[in-house]
């Protein structure tokens, strides 16, 4: 016979934390995804703070409108914001049990993500063609190139990861393997990638 667990009623103070319940009123998947987002967000905060240090320490910084084409960066931003809306629609459809609509919108999101990556590849190759490297660039302090490639590169890697997650989720959704919660988790990650771009766009391209 299996030993029975001692079932004394826990005190109100420890009840939420003594196991078997969810103190944050979410599933373990969602909680872990949020924990991951916090730590990953701190990585980008670290990058942006270091960029702030390097830029202030350098004293002068390249004039960005001579380097970046703001219309193009605006298009990249528009693309990423739109994929966030398509992903939110996909999550809503999955939760409403409309699997085919969900699948379609996940694919749209993945295509938007790939378009963003293509534009970033074009931007990178243009700047590399003009002589920008990790250690030097024709416009000013060497730290500019390091910051640019490191920060946009890390963000781009997150977009690439997101696209892979989205394609996997789309295929698994159409097969009925991934349920609404799985779509929601992919969505949380994708919105986070969009959220990071809000800060990169502001601190790197506008300020």
């Amino acid at each position: 016979m299996l030993p029975t667990l001692q079932m004394t009623s826990p005190s109100p103070q420890t009840a939420s934390w003594s196991g078997g319940v969810s103190p944050f009123a979410v599933s373990w998947r969602k909680l872990m995804m949020w924990w991951f987002i916090v730590t990953d967000g701190l990585l980008f905060i670290g990058f942006l703070a270091s960029y702030g240090y390097l830029r202030l320490a350098a004293g002068s910084w390249p004039q960005r409108d001579k380097i970046f084409h703001m219309e193009f960066i605006a298009l990249m931003t528009f693309t990423l914001i739109t994929t966030s809306a398509t992903m939110a629609t996909a999550v809503g459809a999955a939760q409403a049990g409309q699997r085919h609509i969900a699948k379609r919108f996940i694919w749209l999101t993945a295509i938007g993500g790939m378009a963003f990556l293509a534009m970033q590849a074009y931007e990178w190759s243009t700047l590399i063609g003009e002589g920008a490297t990790l250690t030097s660039n024709p416009w000013g302090p060497a730290a500019f190139g390091a910051c640019f490639f490191l920060i946009t590169g890390f963000h781009g890697t997150h977009v690439l990861t997101g696209v892979i997650v989205l394609i996997t989720t789309a295929i698994r959704t159409s097969k009925g393997i991934t349920q609404a919660e799985g779509v929601e988790m992919a969505g949380l990650y994708w919105h986070f990638v969009d959220l990071v771009w809000v800060f990169v766009f502001t601190f790197f391209y506008l300020i």
Binding site: G41, L42, A74, I81, A85, A88, F192
Partner: protein
């Protein structure tokens, strides 16, 4: 399915981005910086709040995520980025 729920924030995000780009052409200095930081914060709140569903989550989760990122973020910026000013002054002393 209520599409407005997802495409309403999308319009707000696009308008805010446009505001940032226009502000960039129209203003300089402190006004520009304030406008950019305000619009950026509004966009972040929109994405995390509605798209990531955070505003409907348990208060404990909201505070953990927001305080975790904002407090540590502010500390990192104050501790690392602000030190760049000192580094610049030191380097140009002689």
């Amino acid at each position: 399915m209520d599409y407005k729920k997802y495409w309403g924030p999308w319009i707000s995000l696009l308008v805010l981005t446009l505001v940032m780009l226009v502000a960039d052409r129209a203003f300089t200095g402190t006004i520009l910086l304030t406008a950019l930081l305000l619009a950026m914060t509004a966009k972040a709140i929109l994405i995390a709040g509605t798209f990531m569903h955070l505003k409907w989550e348990h208060k404990g989760l909201i505070w953990t995520v927001v305080l975790g990122l904002v407090v540590v973020g502010a500390a990192l910026f104050a501790g690392i980025a602000a030190d760049g000013v000192r580094a610049h002054t030191m380097a140009n002393r002689w």
